[in-house]
Subunit: 108 residues, 2 copies
């Protein structure tokens, strides 16, 4: 199907999902599906779908208790994004270095 990093990127590429994820991160307590949906202008089923996508990407964990399903954010999953970024970071640093060299040569 889809590789892990793509799932992760696609999960956070949707603004609504970023909002849901954010809401979960800043809440210390786990939230049930209904509690989450109440915070959004969308049907519960719509929210459920997004949560499934987030869970598939490892960004949310779900704990079932009775008829309720409590969701928790798993920000650590974002470390893979960070790892991906790290490689390219060296190139934007290089550009800064190049700019520095350029400015120095102008001064001289």
């Amino acid at each position: 199907m889809q590789d892990k990093i793509t799932k992760l990127f696609k999960a956070i590429a949707d603004p609504t999902r970023r909002d849901i994820f954010h809401a979960l991160v800043i809440t210390s307590t786990a939230l049930s599906i209904t509690q989450i949906s109440n915070q959004f202008e969308m049907t519960r089923q719509g929210v459920t779908k997004h949560i499934k996508t987030l869970a598939d990407a490892g960004l949310v964990s779900i704990n079932t208790q009775g008829r309720e399903r409590f969701c928790n954010a798993e920000p650590k999953a974002l470390q893979d994004v960070n790892k991906w970024l790290k490689f390219y970071e060296q190139f934007w640093d290089d550009k800064l270095r190049d700019l520095g060299n350029y400015l120095n040569s102008k001064d001289a």
Copy 2:
């Protein structure tokens, strides 16, 4: 339409686009559309579409010279992704800190 950060996330959410971007990053010279498409099992027009998406997200800059259009990667655009990540980094750090506290309490 779509906000900047969403465009950026969507651009890198596609594996082909990540490949194109990567190819441009690791090449010191700018590449024409044709040169890029030759590296992919896809029509030139397909690649062109991806490049347009990358350019819209600020990840690629295009320099027209005669009938050719030379593309350059702009890894610096990824700094916005980094900025977005930064906020959540503190939460995965918190988790590590919590784990540290837990281990310490076990030692005592």
